[in-house]
Amino acid sequence: MSSLLAFAAAEPPPTLDSGNTAWMLTSAALVLFMTIPGLALFYGGLNRSKGVLNMMMMSFGPFGLIGVIYVLWGYSMSFGSKDIGGIIASPLEFWGLKGMLPGEPGATVLQDGGIPTLIFVGFQFTFAAITVALISGALSDRVKFSTWMVFSALWVTLAYFPLAHMVWGGGLLSGSADGIAAKLFGLTDGAATIAPIDFAGGTVVHINAGMAGLVLALIVGRRKGFGKVPMRPHNVTLVMLGSGILWFGWYGFNAGSALAANDSAALAWVNTTVATCAAMLGWLVVEKLREGHATSVGAASGIVAGLVAITPACGNVTPLGAIGVGVIAGAAAAMAVGLKYRLGFDDSLDVVGVHLVAGFWGTISLGIFARGTGLAYGDWRQLVVQLIIALVALVFTAVVTTVIALALKATMGWRISEDDEVAGIDQAEHAESAYDFGGRGAGRVSPLGQHEPDARHHHEIDSEVHA
């Protein structure tokens, strides 16, 4: 998305480029595939079996909601031209994507690579959706599905769209003349001399989701038995599958953020690959030294840490730089994930340890490795700019998430009952269980609608509680 700043200002080129459009159609589909079903499987496999379906639904449910929201007001708030204080744009300008359809006069507006505006909308929607889904990893096995759905709608509107606008839509954290970076080190040709770099979403996606996960883990509280009872992954083949789908889809995320099929996309492709490889090795080496075994959950986690860290950097570092970004990301995340047991917050599937840590590192790594402007090239100003945007994003999200989470705590409430938590959230919230390999153990079948809808749900369950 490096070219978005240019886009915000420039007039669109007159012709559509079918090659760039082909790549964006593909990329948008790839990013969708990351969440549905990639992330859902990754998180689901890491979860205990009694909550795997709920964990998957925490990705699927918001995805549906945000799809509708993005068309109605999300795109407009993120990328509309009616900026409000550098923080957000008006939700009304492109309400319902008005004026953008084929054949509409002012609507065949093309991005600078010659792509239809609509596919840019689709591409951006998938980013908003996965960011919310990422957060859910902090909350496994204990949260009301209804509260989570309401949270998703509020958070995407009040935390995600603003940050997307600030960073990519020409707001405060962009390289625009009114942004923080321009205030710090001045302007060159009407834009910041040292523009902040977030190629594909280190701040907007990963710091944002990671910080939200931390806040929620603290406000919602721990799973019953956290730190005492083992809560280990119930199906590691799903974890491996999920990590593979994430990696595959991430080419849409990163190389697609060039918004064209060009040199820059090719560089992003190679950097994404090599950083991820290096991060997997980094994680495995830490495990091997520390515990004596390199695990497969470790490999999958290292992959995700590498992908996260290279996300902001993939268009602006060399492949050798990418190896550095990756290996440090993998090792750092491997060391960070144990912290939750010491500090006592139940970030169940390590949103903080992986996304916040690697996302933060990836964002500031540009201060070191960015081609031409990083420390390694003798300039310290990029590092200052990157630190500032990372910290502003962190604080902004922390505040907004806290407000939303406390409001919901006071009203709808976050937690399911202790009884339900012990019996398993899949049964309590979704009336389902994930597996039935034996084919035994079920008694009667009755088509719905033949008895009263309210008289039969799980109050029959004599939930099993610790006395």
Binding site: V229, R440, G441, P447, L448, E460, A467
Partner: protein, 112 residues
């Protein structure tokens, strides 16, 4: 010797295991099972139909003990596994004529 068989709620297994250890029992065999009784199962919903699952997951513990320990072991299990809610389970005692430790071939109480 006696065989004490206990059907209990699965989440009580760790506690029962610890209580038996504390009492001095060093071994047991555990398997998964499903119970049917006063405690009812639950409903599940899939695509336009609803299913009742009659059986409730239980854990089945077997412990061989010396005659004199049987009553006490039953007691320990009952106390620890009790929640006072329907479905807590059953414990029963049966006579055992001989036990052998496979590793050594020892017979009787020393095989435990």
């Amino acid at each position: 010797m006696k065989l004490v068989t206990a059907i209990i709620k699965p989440f009580k297994l760790d506690e029962v295991k610890e209580a038996l250890e504390a009492y001095g029992i060093a071994g047991m065999t555990v398997s998964e099972s499903s119970g049917y009784g006063r405690q009812r199962g639950h409903s599940e919903v899939y695509r336009g139909a609803e299913y009742t699952v009659d059986f409730v997951p239980k854990v089945r513990i077997e412990v061989i003990v010396e005659d004199m320990d049987a009553a006490a072991v039953v007691d320990v299990i009952v106390k620890t596994a009790q929640t006072g809610r329907i479905g807590d389970g059953k414990v029963w005692v049966m006579p055992v004529e001989d036990v052998v430790r496979v590793r050594t071939g020892e017979h009787g109480p020393t095989a435990l």
